[in-house]
């Protein structure tokens, strides 16, 4: 008997819990050269902005131990081109699409949500809150739970009611649980954890910052324990809220780790730069790992790490054979 990989994000059912993370799947065309986009749970788009954006100057990326530091500056064509060109193409390939939104204030996020709601075929919205807030000295929206809640509220109010809104949060904040609760009160339907962790690398030859912006976001396996810990804490505090987990996922076993910590679906990001077919490989590995654990339904593993020993499927020492 094959494993049931279907998962639900609020009212949206996905074929499996493996998602391509925002900013790591291009427009979809790049990865479609390597695998069938309909074979993954969903593809989350690069963050869409109101106007086209040229992004940050190069160098934008530096390799760091088991990870990388990036500062691309949200380069993209803007929502008009996204709606005309990229979204229809993704849907024509049978992909389930989560759309990541990025703006400079609640009004801009609201406008993005409104225009997105005029299109059909969007499975869910992810609100990228790790963007500089011009009215808060360029600090990220995630740095102040009230500012984050204001943005989430604007997006939820302008998004069609049948499209769930996920707030994407950062872990490098004083209290991720407080931030998550603020977003939940602003009627977020779910959370996406975590975004990159702010950091810097210095070029050993020039003794200058390795990426042009100075600071960048660290991603990759280096941040996985931070991400798993964040998912675990937030799920314990808000067990009813579905979570898209992610941060340094490289294998099917890593997906299982996030599911056990409380994620309902898991986004695969930086590893795609290393292995363009990573997403489909991970779906396969996850299926094998579940079979090994004797689990028939992937949903049964969600939150397993929170249950007392021996309480349910997937919890405690695993049955052999």
């Amino acid at each position: 008997m094959s494993t049931d990989l279907r998962v639900r994000l609020k009212d949206v059912e996905l074929a499996n819990p493996v998602l391509a993370a925002a900013g790591c799947a291009g427009t979809g065309r790049e990865l479609a050269q390597f695998f069938d986009l309909a074979g993954i749970g969903a593809l989350i788009t690069k963050s869409v902005t109101v106007e086209p954006r040229a992004g940050h100057p190069a160098p934008r990326i530096a390799e760091t131990p088991s990870g990388m530091l990036s500062a691309t500056g949200l380069q993209g064509p803007g929502i008009e081109v996204f709606l005309q060109r990229d979204l229809p193409w993704l849907l024509s390939r049978g992909a389930r699409v989560g759309v990541s939104l990025a703006g400079g204030g609640a009004a801009e996020y609201g406008e993005l949500a409104r225009r997105l709601s005029e299109a059909s075929g969007v499975s869910f919205v992810e609100v990228n809150l790790s963007c500089p807030n011009p009215s808060d000295q360029g600090r990220h929206f995630t740095d102040d739970p009230r500012e984050a809640a204001r943005v989430v509220h604007a997006v939820r109010s302008h998004t069609r009611s049948d499209i769930p809104v996920f707030a994407k949060l950062a872990a490098d904040v004083p209290d991720p649980v407080e931030l998550a609760e603020a977003c939940a009160q602003a009627r977020a339907d779910g959370l996406s954890l975590i975004n990159t962790v702010r950091g810097m690398a210095i070029d050993p030859r020039t003794l200058r910052p390795a990426v042009a912006g100075g600071m960048g976001g660290v991603s990759g396996p280096a941040i996985r324990p931070i991400a798993v810990g964040c998912v675990h804490r937030v799920h314990a505090a808000l067990p009813e809220l579905p979570i898209i987990g992610g941060g340094g996922v490289r294998t099917g076993g890593d997906v299982l780790e996030f599911l056990a910590a409380g994620a309902s679906a898991v986004a695969v990001g930086t590893v795609t730069f290393h292995d363009p077919s990573a997403c489909v490989r991970i779906v396969r590995e996850l299926e094998e790992a579940l079979a090994e654990h004797g689990v028939d339904r992937v949903r049964d593993v969600v939150g397993a790490a929170h249950r007392p020993l021996g309480a349910a499927a997937g919890a405690g020492p695993l049955p052999r054979g």
């Binding site: 065309r29 790049e30 390597f34 160098p59 934008r60 990036s70 064509p77 803007g78 396996p221 290393h274």
Partner: protein, 300 residues
């Protein structure tokens, strides 16, 4: 997924050998060899399956051969832990490659006179180009340069393929002392060149583009930008390039290049976001501005 796009393969290594200051590695990669066109590159994963080095290293393909169903050879210098690992590969080791990637050099329809300009290891991708041009009956002249004699790649082969071959070094240890672009004007005049093809560092490509413009002939340049994925998803390798509509966009060297028309590259603005680039801070769209160059081919 298609018959012409890139493939991801685990390729057995045939040989790794020293060639002057460089290493050349040859791997068995039938599908990549078959699809390859001059100017394209491969992206290699380094450090093995559990590697802590996540970013792929891009390498221009220097040669493909039909042996063993198809082999691919590329050139590299040891610059860090990743390329040091690559230099330690031995016969039968497996190398995870993605390729062929990027847009190839466009080839002229008619048998015209072509001059190829290569700086350092930038000469490597010009060899398969020279063969392709010769097959079309084009005259090929070569101007290859490097910091020193051991960094002028494969001078003997260049002499064999090209009608004339001119060499330069920064230290005068081989050929003419000075930059590779210094003798370019003279070669263009003597060979009555119709087109220039160039590959090498940005300052060299800028100078070669200026020389081509002085002589009123087109130039195709292959840039050597830093890349993280090679497949177009990471947006690390952007270069400011003017489109057919005159609008500058930040385009990806890996999928929109690495080959560009020289006069379109905003060489003076490389490493910056030009103020007039589409989507630059404060930039305002004209009513008829397209976010994508109308002449751009759609991928996929």
């Amino acid at each position: 997924m298609s018959d012409f796009g890139p493939l991801q393969m685990r390729c057995p290594v045939l040989t790794v050998r020293r060639v002057d200051a460089y290493y050349a590695i040859t791997v068995v990669a039938p599908g990549i060899a078959e699809r390859f066109r001059a100017g394209q590159f491969v992206a290699a994963a380094v450090g093995g399956e559990q590697s802590s080095m996540l970013l792929r290293r891009p390498f221009a393909v220097h040669d493909v051969k039909p042996d063993y169903g198809g082999t691919v050879e590329f050139l590299f210098s040891v610059r860090g832990a990743g390329t040091a690992w690559l230099a330690e590969r031995r016969s039968r080791d497996l190398l995870d490659l993605v390729g062929p990637l990027g847009r190839p050099f466009p080839l002229p329809r008619d048998p015209v006179n072509c001059v190829l300009v290569g700086g350092g290891s930038g000469s490597a991708p010009l060899f398969p180009l020279a063969h392709a041009l010769r097959r079309r009956g084009c005259r090929v002249d070569a101007v290859f340069g490097g910091a020193s004699a051991d960094r002028v790649f494969s001078a003997i082969t260049a002499r064999r393929i090209a009608e004339t071959a001119t060499f330069t070094t920064d230290d005068g240890s081989f050929g003419v002392r000075g930059p590779v672009t210094a003798p370019l004007g003279r070669v263009i005049e003597e060979a009555r060149s119709d087109v220039v093809y160039a590959c090498g560092p940005m300052p060299m490509l800028r100078e070669a583009t200026a020389v081509a413009a002085e002589h009123g002939i087109p130039i195709q340049v292959a840039v050597e930008e830093t890349m993280a994925c090679g497949t177009g998803v990471c947006m690390a390798c952007v270069v400011p390039v003017a489109g057919e509509d005159g609008i500058t966009r930040m385009v990806r060297a890996c999928v929109d290049g690495p080959v560009f028309r020289g006069e379109r590259v905003r060489f003076d603005d490389v490493g910056t976001i030009p103020f007039d680039a589409l989507g630059a801070p404060g930039w305002k769209p004209a009513a008829d501005t397209a976010a994508v160059d109308p002449a751009d081919r759609e991928a996929g």
